[in-house]
C-alpha cells in the first residue's frame, strides 16, 4: 500500500474511536510534557547558574603571579643541583610579560590588580578604605545591575564609584553623594632615579631607592553599588571605593601587600606587577590559557575546578529530572500498547477482511505502526506545548515570588530547540516501540479465523 493511503487509513481509524485514541494521545502528551518541563527546568537552572557564575568573574579569570612568590615551598629541593633554570624562575611579571599574555588566544584583557589604602574626605568627614581599580569590562559584572548613578564616563575619567556601606559612612543618604567631589589622600611611590648614583657601574635596579610621598586627588562620585564587582578572586579586604584602572595605575600608589622584596624590585625604572588578572572570553578557555601562561614561566590560579564540579552536578540533576520525565512517558507508552492491543482485538474481523481483500502482513503491520506513530507525534506536539505552558507558569510563579523578595526576575526555565525536537522524536520512538507488539500481532492474524470472529 502507498504511504499516503496508509496515512489516510490510519487517520480514519484514529478518528473512528475518538475518545479512546484521544485519551491515549493525551497520556503521551502528559508524559512528554513532564519530560519537557523537568528537563527545561534543569537546563534553565544550569543556564542561570552558569550565567551568574560567569558574570561573577570567578570562572573566566586567571590570577598570574611571578614564580618567586612560591619559592618558599619548594625552593630547597630546587636549589640542590644548582638548577640553571633558576634565572627563568625569577622572571619578573613586567610590561613585556603582560604583552605576551595579552597575545594569547581568547584573552579578553590583562589588568593589574591594584588595591591600596587611602583616606577619603568628604566635607567634614574622613574615612580610610581600600581603593580598587576597575577595568572597563567589569561593567558587565552583576554588581552593576542595581547601580545608582552611572559607570565611569571613560577609561581615564577621574571618577569614583562608591560601595553603599562605605558611602553611608560619608553621608547619611548615600545618593546625595552622586555628582559630588571627594578627596583621596594616599601614599605615592616615587623612584629616586639618582639616588644610587654613587654605586657606580654595578648599580642594578635592586639597589635603587624610592620615596613615599603623600598625595591628594579630587575625584567625582558617579555611582553607588551594593557589592564589590568580581570580588571572588580578591585576596584581602573589601573595597569601599573604585576608580578606573588606568587612573589607578597613574596614581602610582604604594600597594597594600607590597613586600619589602617587591618594593625593592619595583623601585627600578621597569615596572613590574605583583599580580596580573587575565580575563578570558569564556571559562572553557581558562585551562588552556593557564597552561600557556605557566609555560611562560609564571604561576597561575583559577577556580575552574569548582566550575567543573558544578557542571557535573547539573549533568546529574538533568539525568534525574529526565528519569522522572521518562517514567511518565513510559506509563504513557503502556497506554499506547493497551489501546493498540484493544484495537487489534476489536478490529480482528476488519483485519481479516483487509487480508482477504489483498492486504499483506506488511500492510497490516505498517497500518498499526502508522497509527501508533501518529498518536506519538500528536502526543509529542501537544506535550511540548503543554510542557512549555507548564514551564511558563513555573517561571511566572517564581518571578512573582522573586519580586516579593525584591529580587530581579530570572529565567529559571528554558526550552532549547534540541529539547523540542528531541521530545517529539522520543515520543514517536516510544510510540513505535509500543506499537511493535500489537502491530505484529495484527499482522500475524490468521484471516480465516479472523473472518469467523464475530
Amino acid at each position: 500500500m502507498k504511504t499516503r493511503d496508509m496515512l489516510e487509513l490510519a487517520a480514519r481509524n484514529l478518528r473512528e474511536s475518538k475518545l479512546r485514541n484521544s485519551l491515549t494521545t493525551l497520556g503521551i502528551a502528559v508524559g512528554v510534557a513532564s519530560l519537557v518541563a523537568m528537563l527545561s527546568l534543569g537546563v534553565g537552572l544550569q543556564e542561570l547558574a552558569s550565567n551568574r557564575l560567569t558574570r561573577s568573574g570567578l570562572f573566566d579569570q586567571i590570577a598570574v603571579y611571578s614564580r618567586p612568590e612560591f619559592r618558599g615551598f619548594r625552593g630547597n629541593d630546587r636549589r640542590d643541583g644548582g638548577n640553571p633554570g633558576e634565572k627563568r624562575d625569577l622572571r619578573p611579571l613586567d610590561e613585556a610579560a603582560r604583552h605576551e599574555i595579552e597575545k594569547l588566544p581568547n584573552v579578553v584583557e590583562v589588568f593589574a590588580e591594584i588595591r591600596f589604602t587611602s583616606e577619603v574626605r568628604f566635607g567634614e568627614k574622613s574615612q580610610f578604605t581600600f581603593v580598587g581599580g576597575l577595568t572597563p569590562s567589569s561593567r558587565s559584572s552583576e554588581a552593576f545591575e542595581k547601580m545608582q548613578g552611572s559607570f565611569f564616563s571613560g577609561p581615564d575619567a577621574e571618577e569614583v564609584i562608591l560601595q553603599t556601606q562605605f558611602a553611608k559612612t560619608l553621608a547619611d543618604r548615600p545618593e546625595t553623594l552622586l555628582g559630588q567631589e571627594v578627596t583621596l589622600r594616599y601614599a605615592e611611590r616615587q623612584a629616586l632615579s639618582g639616588a644610587s648614583g654613587g654605586a657606580g657601574a654595578t648599580a642594578g635596579a635592586e639597589e635603587a631607592g624610592f620615596s613615599v610621598v603623600r598625595r591628594e586627588r579630587k575625584v567625582r562620585v558617579v555611582g553607588i553599588i551594593e557589592t564589590e564587582p568580581f570580588s571572588g578572586m580578591r585576596g584581602f579586604g573589601r573595597g569601599g571605593i573604585f576608580i578606573p584602572i588606568n587612573v589607578a595605575e597613574k596614581l602610582g600608589p604604594v600597594a597594600m601587600s607590597s613586600s619589602v622584596r617587591e618594593l625593592m624590585r619595583t623601585s627600578s625604572d621597569t615596572k613590574t606587577y605583583q599580580t596580573l588578572m587575565v580575563r578570558m572570553s569564556s571559562p572553557t578557555h581558562v585551562e588552556a590559557a593557564e597552561q600557556a601562561i605557566e609555560k611562560l614561566g609564571f604561576s597561575t590560579f583559577s577556580i575552574l575546578d569548582a566550575m567543573r564540579n558544578l557542571r557535573r552536578f547539573f549533568a546529574v540533576l538533568d539525568l534525574f529530572l529526565g528519569i522522572f520525565g521518562s517514567v511518565a512517558l513510559a506509563v504513557a507508552s503502556l497506554g499506547i500498547i493497551n489501546t493498540l492491543v484493544m484495537s487489534v482485538l476489536e478490529r480482528r474481523r476488519e483485519i481479516g477482511i483487509m487480508k482477504a481483500l489483498g492486504a499483506s502482513d506488511k500492510d497490516v503491520r505498517r497500518l498499526f505502526f502508522t497509527e501508533a506513530g501518529s498518536m506519538g507525534m500528536l502526543g509529542g506536539l501537544l506535550g511540548v506545548a503543554l510542557g512549555w505552558a507548564i514551564g511558563k507558569a513555573i517561571n511566572f510563579g517564581t518571578n512573582i515570588y522573586l519580586a516579593r523578595q525584591e529580587f530581579p526576575p530570572e529565567t529559571i526555565w528554558l526550552v532549547p530547540w534540541w529539547l523540542v525536537g528531541g521530545a517529539i522524536g522520543f515520543a514517536v520512538l516510544v510510540s513505535l516501540a509500543a506499537g511493535l507488539y500489537p502491530a505484529s500481532r495484527a499482522a500475524k492474524l490468521d484471516p480465516v479465523k479472523a473472518l469467523r470472529y464475530e
Binding site: 493511503d5 482477504a356 492486504a359 499483506s360
Partner: protein, 234 residues
C-alpha cells in the same frame, strides 16, 4: 457456460488437516478437481463437509497441509505470504455470507479498499469504484455506510468490492445465506451476469441445491472433506 476450456483452477490431492488437541480433523481430505476458465461451479455439501475450507484454500486465505492448488498455472502452496497477498489482490475477488463490509467506512471507501492495497492510481481508482458501484446499481448510495443499507444492498456492495480490481475469478461463500429468497435471487442474477458478460470464473459454496441447479453450470459435491460427486445440473 461461456468457458473457453482452459483450466483456471486445479487442485491436486489437496488436504487440509486441523490438529485439535489429540484428534486431527481432516477438513479437506484429498480433493482433486478442475475448474475451467469462465465456468460457474457450485460447491455443495452439508455443513462441515469442507466446502468452505476448500474455498478458502482456493482464495489463498489458507494453506493446504498437502497437495497443490494451481491457479493459472501457479501453485498457491508454494507461494510466500507476500505472493499470496498479491494473488488475493489481483486474481480473485471474494464475497461472504455475512457481507464483511467494514462498518466504519462508506460504500465508496469499502469498494476502494482492494484498489488501495493494489496501489492503483487515485484517479483511476475513483473511476474503478464508480464503475463497480454502477454495475451493481448502488451509485446513489455510495456515501452511505453499510448499516444504512439492506442486506441485499450490502451484498451488492460486497460484489462491487470483489469486482473493483477486475479479477478473473470470483469466489462466493454462501452469498445468499443471509438473504431472503427474492433478494438472494437478485444477487445470484448479478453473479451470473458477471460470469456471462465479464467472463469471470465463479466458484460458489452453497448448501441450497435448487439455487445451484438453477444458476451453476456444474455442481461439485463434498462430503467429509472428499469429493462425493460431480455433475452437470442439466
Amino acid at each position: 457456460m461461456t468457458h473457453n476450456g482452459e483450466v483456471a483452477i486445479r487442485t491436486e490431492d489437496v488436504r487440509r488437516h486441523y490438529v485439535m488437541g489429540a484428534s486431527t480433523i481432516q477438513a479437506v481430505d484429498g480433493v482433486t478437481l478442475e475448474v475451467r476458465a469462465g465456468e460457474f461451479v457450485a460447491l455443495l455439501g452439508s455443513s462441515g463437509s469442507g466446502k468452505s475450507t476448500l474455498l478458502n484454500l482456493i482464495a489463498g486465505l489458507d494453506r493446504p497441509t498437502a497437495g497443490a492448488i494451481r491457479v493459472q498455472g501457479r501453485d498457491l502452496a508454494q507461494m510466500d505470504a507476500e505472493e499470496l497477498a498479491r494473488y488475493r489482490r489481483h486474481t480473485v475477488g471474494m464475497v461472504f455470507q455475512s457481507f464483511n463490509l467494514i462498518p466504519t467506512m462508506t460504500l465508496e471507501e469499502n469498494v476502494e479498499l482492494p484498489a488501495r492495497f493494489a496501489e492503483v492510481d487515485r484517479a483511476e481508482r475513483k473511476e474503478l469504484v464508480r464503475a463497480s458501484l454502477e454495475r451493481v446499481g448502488l451509485s446513489a448510495r455510495s456515501t452511505h455506510r453499510p448499516s444504512e443499507l439492506s442486506g441485499g444492498e450490502q451484498q451488492r456492495a460486497a460484489l462491487a468490492r470483489a469486482l473493483v480490481n477486475r479479477p478473473s475469478i470470483l469466489l462466493a461463500d454462501e452469498p445468499t445465506g443471509n438473504l431472503d429468497s427474492k433478494t438472494g435471487t437478485e444477487i445470484l442474477n448479478l453473479i451470473r451476469e458477471f460470469n456471462v458478460s465479464l467472463g469471470m470464473t465463479v466458484v460458489m459454496v452453497t448448501h441450497e441445491r435448487t439455487l445451484a441447479e438453477h444458476y451453476a453450470g456444474r455442481m461439485i459435491f463434498l462430503s467429509d472433506g472428499k469429493l462425493a460427486g460431480n455433475g452437470d445440473p442439466r
